[in-house]
């Protein structure tokens, strides 16, 4: 039972992480290849604060704040660059983060930080808490999608030049997407740190950034339900198939490539098309 509870918690954390990237990449169309850095910022801040005795419920908003602030700065630097260059910039930020962590003894260096405690919850309680967080963030995403912010994000993802001609302040909206998405990644990072009770530089590198991007693409870029299902399933894969652990980059990287090549609208698109066909058949009868 302990195993299932722990797996469930991991899945909820992956869902949160994928939804946070989906907000930036799926809703607003801004690619990020370094999203794990923001997970890491949240995780490291929570770990340090936990060690200093700061209460759990206070570390969560602080982790959001710091990750969101750094995310906004990264967003600022990338406002003037186009999509392909944004990919490189964010990838650079990802490497920079891991590079810094490795160098700093007070951040645990290569060894990482162990013994992170302080949530004061049972395993079951903690699982329920992370699942609740995931549900709240899903609700937020669904709300956001239907608000005028979501409609503007959609327009920016499709054609930002035309949005400008409609009087939309595109840079501000991109920053908003970065701020919200990276803040949620920071929250996820804090939950991650308390769950695994150990963090190290390897947990927040390029592989993790590619993994979460593959979750978003497999689910269907922009689709809240699709991304949730994909993140839950894909995060459980390494637990079900032990060998994946060693070949993560290969597995998730190929998945990413194959999906973009053959099913660019992801599972959500497959389901939509399948339903559409069935409806058409029923109408035909």
């Amino acid at each position: 039972m302990n195993y299932e509870i722990s797996l469930m918690t991991t899945m909820a954390i992956s869902v949160l992480f994928a939804l946070s990237l989906n907000l930036i990449t799926g809703f607003c169309g801004q690619i990020s290849l370094g999203h794990a850095a923001f997970l890491g910022i949240g995780a490291y801040l929570a770990a340090m604060l936990a060690k200093a005795g700061v209460p759990f419920l206070l570390t969560l908003p602080l982790a959001m704040l710091l990750a969101g602030a750094v995310g906004t700065v990264v967003g600022l630097t990338s406002l003037r660059v186009r999509a392909d260059f944004l990919a490189i910039t964010t990838m650079g930020v990802g490497f920079l983060f891991v590079g810094i962590i490795r160098q700093r003894e007070w951040l645990g260096g290569e060894l990482g930080i162990a013994g992170i405690t302080g949530s004061n919850m049972s395993k079951l309680g903690y699982m329920l808490f992370t699942v609740l967080c995931a549900i709240l963030v899903m609700a937020l995403c669904i709300y956001l999608r239907r608000s005028w912010m979501g409609r503007v994000f959609n327009g920016i993802a499709e054609d930002e030049d035309t949005m400008r001609v409609l009087g939309i302040n595109v840079p501000r909206y991109k920053l908003a997407a970065f701020a919200i998405g990276t803040a949620l990644a920071g929250l996820t990072g804090a939950l991650y740190a308390y769950h695994f009770q150990y963090i190290g530089p390897d947990s927040f590198g390029f592989v993790e950034s590619i993994t979460v991007l593959s979750m978003v693409v497999v689910g269907g870029i922009g689709s809240v339900a699709g991304v949730t299902v994909a993140a839950a399933l894909l995060s459980a894969l390494p637990a079900w198939f032990q060998f994946i652990g060693d070949y993560k980059l290969l597995v998730y990287g190929s998945l990413l490539f194959l999906m973009i090549r053959f099913v660019p609208d992801g599972m959500a698109g497959l389901v939509r098309r399948h339903l559409g066909k069935r409806r058409a058949e029923e109408r035909g009868k």
Binding site: Y143, S147, N154, G167, A176
Partner: protein, 273 residues
């Protein structure tokens, strides 16, 4: 101080002052000046490649001028972002239509009509209702004559519908200065006449309009003033009848050889595609 304020509100709405735009080696606009008075319906005409579209793009900030200045109500716009200029009361209906293809025709217009709610991301996040915008969209689509396509997907609409969608979207911004780049393209003569009449009505309601159009019949019917460009230069301006009788203007149009005919065929072509 008060004299200045009053001169701002009574002076010309738009001043284009010795503007030059260059694309690499091509001099698209060469030292062009003209003013647009409040309430004017100004036709900006000239043969293909004259620089008309580039002029509107310089006014809205889509392209940057190399020299010269553009002022709206006496206020210099140079260096200002596109979206700020739009928020100052301009709207641009583009020659190349650019509808958002994964939302309906009506939602395209509603997106523009929501300009107050979308002023800042925070306000947009807190605004959910779209009934007011959908209502405005319905009215505007009716006005430009494509209400029956409100729920259709722009991806499958012919050019004539998309051009009118582009106009409706510009109108949804409730501009004081409306810039229209070939709104009648792709329409048959009956549709063109009806939309031209609508444009004239909108002008009569107090919206200042700059209209680029190759359909000279409608231009001469509704425009109050003309500015003629040729090869990036202004070759004439003034009252439409006088302007059209000028030798230079006739020569420019004849020189480009039955330009109207050729364009219509081009548009039909892209219509089918």
């Amino acid at each position: 101080m008060s004299a200045m304020a009053s001169s701002l509100s009574t002076g010309p709405l738009l001043e284009v002052d010795r503007v030059t735009v260059r694309f690499g080696g091509v001099l698209a606009i060469d030292d062009v000046s003209f003013t647009v008075l409040r309430g004017d319906l100004l036709g900006l005409i000239g043969p293909n490649g004259a620089g008309k579209t580039t002029m509107l793009r310089a006014i809205t900030g889509v392209v940057q001028q190399e020299r010269g200045s553009v002022r709206l109500s006496g206020r210099p716009l140079d260096g200002m972002s596109i979206e700020r200029r739009i928020r100052l009361g301009m709207a641009l209906s583009q020659q190349l239509v650019k509808p958002f293809r994964d939302i309906s025709v009506a939602d395209n217009v509603a997106l523009a009509a929501a300009y107050r709610k979308t002023l800042s991301p925070l306000r947009a996040l807190l605004s959910l209702s779209q009934s007011a915008e959908r209502r405005v969209a319905g009215e505007l689509l009716e006005r430009v004559g494509i209400a029956r396509h409100a729920e259709d997907n722009p991806a499958v609409m012919p050019l004539g519908v998309l051009k009118r969608l582009e106009v409706a979207r510009a109108l949804a911004l409730q501009p004081q200065l409306l810039l229209l780049d070939e709104p009648l393209a792709g329409l048959n003569s009956q549709e063109a006449e009806s939309l031209a009449t609508t444009i004239s009505d909108i002008n009569a309601q107090g919206v200042t309009i700059v209209l680029i159009e190759h359909n000279l019949r409608e231009v001469l019917r509704i425009c109050k003033n003309l500015v003629v460009l040729d090869n990036g230069r202004k070759i004439a301006e003034g009252d439409p009848k006088t302007v059209m009788h000028l030798e230079t203007v006739r020569a420019a149009y004849l020189g480009s050889g039955a330009g109207d005919e050729r364009r219509n065929r081009q548009h039909r072509g892209s219509d089918d595609a």
